[in-house]
């Protein structure tokens, strides 16, 4: 009898726990869902960025309370709950490249329904272009990032900084060996490899979502790039390349601005220079530009439009972007910020602005999701498995076409 009672109690407590857990979660979310004065913003940013945002958003209280919630799997979580007002956030801060996916899913509100055209015109054209999908603007930009050419002044003097890719190649030949590399990049990682493809004037995905891999320009770019790969480490991943640079084993690299605090902490005298010009095309290496900004969910607008407008208005203040630049080296998205001395004197931000002039906004079409994998495989086939370039391009094109077809 005793055993029966214990097992009954255990069964009840198990079911009750399961029930309470799900109810508990739901009630916490639904409390904010029904409160027009509480705005939940999901993000995946570091503390330096959120501290600036929190401080500014605090000024809205008690009228509007903003809760910033960090989500490491933000993109997947949004796919799961984007349509559910009880679980989804009201807004989120993320790069522009997922806009196409969420716009097609129908969960995003065009930002032009919440801010005026005059307000939007304050932002750099390239950032607004990045936030536009099928003619509608879905993001209010905050800042943008591009990859930068960085060098360690201990090894590469300012006068040695290569202005062209051939100068870079000569430097690599002279300085690679004995555990040192003249230059190291994530050569077979798609985000970094596109720096070379863009520099040859090709876009791997057309505006209408068609893959462009088996083209003359991509072939030229990857053939030319390969000789640089041969003088670099066999690994292409973030940790290896960044450690080589931060440990002083690689004299120069192409990396994001997020790398700078790490190397400065290690005492490196790091220099930042314009991207080398490709001798073959006379265009500089062109990285992708990622625009970080605020997106608003459709469901939230139905019940919280007034509060959302207030949040956007506060975040539109150029001081926010200037503070972000000072705190985390983010390049402001508003033109007016570049008239301020604080920004003009920031070498990293100004170099990013210069690089952004030649940068290509990262495509925001949903098809880009499959292109990352296909391009990654293509780069690996050519650079690490030494497969024939023509054959690899042909296979990659066929694979991309088939995967894009499978998306629909």
């Amino acid at each position: 009898m005793k055993k029966r009672i214990i097992s009954l109690l255990l069964s009840i407590s198990m079911l009750a726990t399961a029930g309470f857990t799900s109810c508990g979660k739901k009630s916490a979310k639904s409390a904010t869902a029904n409160d027009p004065h509480t705005i939940v913003i999901w993000h995946d940013k570091e503390d330096a960025v959120t501290d600036v945002l929190k401080k500014k958003l605090k000024t809205l209280e008690p009228d509007v309370k903003v809760v910033l919630e960090k989500k490491s799997d933000l993109t997947e979580s949004l796919k799961m709950v984007g349509n559910d007002p009880n679980s989804a956030p009201d807004m989120y801060i993320f790069a522009h490249d997922k806009i196409g996916v969420y716009a097609e899913m129908g969960i995003l509100e065009p930002i032009t329904n919440l801010i005026s055209k005059d307000d939007l015109s304050k932002f750099m054209d390239s950032t607004v272009e990045a936030a536009t999908y099928k003619g509608k603007v879905y993001q209010m930009p905050l800042y943008y990032e591009t990859l930068l050419f960085m060098y360690n002044r201990l090894y590469m003097k300012d006068e040695e900084v290569p202005k062209t890719t051939e100068e870079l190649y000569s430097y690599m030949k002279e300085n690679t060996g004995g555990g040192h590399y003249g230059f190291a990049e994530q050569h077979s990682t798609p985000y970094y490899a596109t720096v070379w493809i863009n520099g040859f004037g090709e876009k791997i995905l057309s505006k209408d979502g068609k893959a462009k891999l088996n083209t003359k320009k991509v072939k030229e770019a990857l053939t030319y790039h390969k000789k640089f790969v041969e003088l670099q480490p066999g690994e292409t991943e973030y940790a290896t390349v960044n450690t080589l640079f931060s440990e002083g084993k690689a004299h120069s690299t192409i990396a994001g601005p997020w790398m700078i605090p790490t190397v400065k902490e290690k005492g490196m005298d790091v220099g930042i220079a314009p991207m080398p010009v490709i001798d073959e095309t006379q265009k500089s290496l062109s990285p992708y530009m990622g625009v970080q900004g605020v997106q608003v969910l459709k469901n939230a607008v139905k019940t919280k439009k007034a509060s959302i407008k207030k949040v956007l208005k506060v975040l539109m203040d150029p001081d926010v972007e200037i503070d972000l630049a000072k705190a985390s080296g983010c390049a402001p998205a508003q033109n007016a910020c570049y008239d301020q001395d604080e920004i003009k004197n920031d070498n990293v931000v100004m170099m990013m602005k210069q690089t952004a002039d030649n940068a290509v906004p990262m495509p925001n079409a949903p098809e880009m999701d499959v292109m990352w994998t296909v391009l990654g495989n293509l780069m690996t086939d050519i650079n690490l498995s030494n497969k024939d370039i023509d054959e690899s391009l042909k296979n990659a094109q066929a694979k991309a076409d088939s995967l894009i077809k499978s998306m629909k």
């Binding site: 097992s7 069964s11 009840i12 198990m14 079911l15 399961a18 796919k79 349509n83 996916v101 097609e104 899913m105 129908g106 969960i107 994530q186 077979s188 990682t189 798609p190 985000y191 480490p233 066999g234 690994e235 292409t236 991943e237 973030y238 940790a239 290896t240 450690t243 080589l244 084993k249 949903p366 999701d369 499959v370 990352w372 994998t373 990654g376 495989n377 780069m379 690996t380 650079n383 690490l384 498995s385 995967l403 499978s406 998306m407 629909k408």
Partner: protein, 298 residues
């Protein structure tokens, strides 16, 4: 008769909470995946998806191309190799743990079980950067000390396969050692004493006493491990295929192949159809193994 019916009903009633949980956690996702596989649910039809019959299955069959067949063969080789190595190594280590008079047995057991305590994701990435990395990995540090040329362990299919197998062994051995250790302890020592009196050597005792007696105990664990190894994704993906960290090796199991050819498309109908087909393959595999086991026991 009435009592029997009452007892049966009572058994089901007592099991009801567990059955409900199993239904929610195991059965419902399978049924729901089956339902999604019959719709056109994808990024372009997220909420307005509709029933499209077996269209996704027609497309999914195309994934089962020559690449899939190659991945399937690779999966079988991977499973067989891993299982043989796991059973042999686990048996040897468990036998050593059961040597009479062994001191500090529990300390050895704790060390051997350690890989189980670490999250698999962390273990795999530690092996990747800490051991196999061509610049900083321990293996190449040793090679350098010995005056040998540094190797790119994960770049070629052959060496990447063995690296993946080693990591899989590291992750899976604690479970198998624990099971075999328990099975060995359950054998009555009088069997061995009689065999020794009859003049049986170590090999004969192993073949005629130990293995037949532990077989029924470790059987279910072996079947579970076969399936875990067969549908292994993490080890191969994280060591060789992760986007942004590909190594040049082109080894695929059916899971990594399906991921690269379907799941990245955000087409949930199509991906669900492929999941259901892989599920059917695994079910067929189970039926074959069960039938073989029954035949052997007869």
């Amino acid at each position: 008769m009435k009592d029997r019916k009452y007892n049966t009903l009572k058994c089901y009633l007592w099991s009801l909470p567990s059955l409900v949980l199993i239904l929610l956690i195991v059965i419902f996702p399978i049924i729901y995946t089956g339902y999604i596989s019959l719709t056109n649910m994808n990024v372009y039809h997220w909420t307005n998806y509709s029933f499209i019959g077996l269209e996704n299955y027609k497309d999914a069959i195309l994934v089962f191309d020559s690449g899939f067949i190659k991945a399937f063969v690779m999966t079988v080789i991977w499973t067989v190799t891993s299982m043989i190595l796991q059973l042999v190594i686990a048996y040897v280590l468990a036998s050593l743990l059961n040597v009479r008079g062994l001191k500090a047995r529990n300390i050895y057991k704790t060390f051997l079980i350690f890989p189980w305590a670490m999250p698999g994701y962390v273990s795999i990435l530690l092996w990747k950067t800490g051991m196999f990395n061509s610049q900083f990995g321990l293996l190449n540090q040793w090679m350098n000390k010995l005056g040998l040329t540094a190797a790119k362990w994960l770049n070629s299919d052959w060496s990447a396969f063995w690296c993946c197998t080693i990591v899989n062994l590291w992750l899976a051995l604690p479970f198998m050692i624990t099971i075999i250790d328990g099975a060995l302890q359950s054998i009555d020592h009088s069997f061995y004493e009689s065999a020794i009196l009859d003049g049986a050597n170590w090999f004969e005792r192993t073949v005629y006493i130990t293995i037949p007696m532990i077989k029924p105990i470790i059987g279910p664990s072996v079947v579970i491990t076969i399936f875990t190894t067969f549908k292994q994704f993490d080890v191969i993906y994280l060591l060789t295929q992760q986007v942004g960290a590909k190594t040049g090796a082109n080894i695929h199991t059916i899971m990594t192949y399906a991921y690269e050819n379907a799941f990245i498309t955000n087409n949930y109908g199509y991906s669900s159809a492929i999941s259901i087909l892989i599920f059917v393959i695994l079910i067929l595999f189970t039926v074959v193994i069960n039938r073989r086991q029954k035949e052997r026991s007869v």
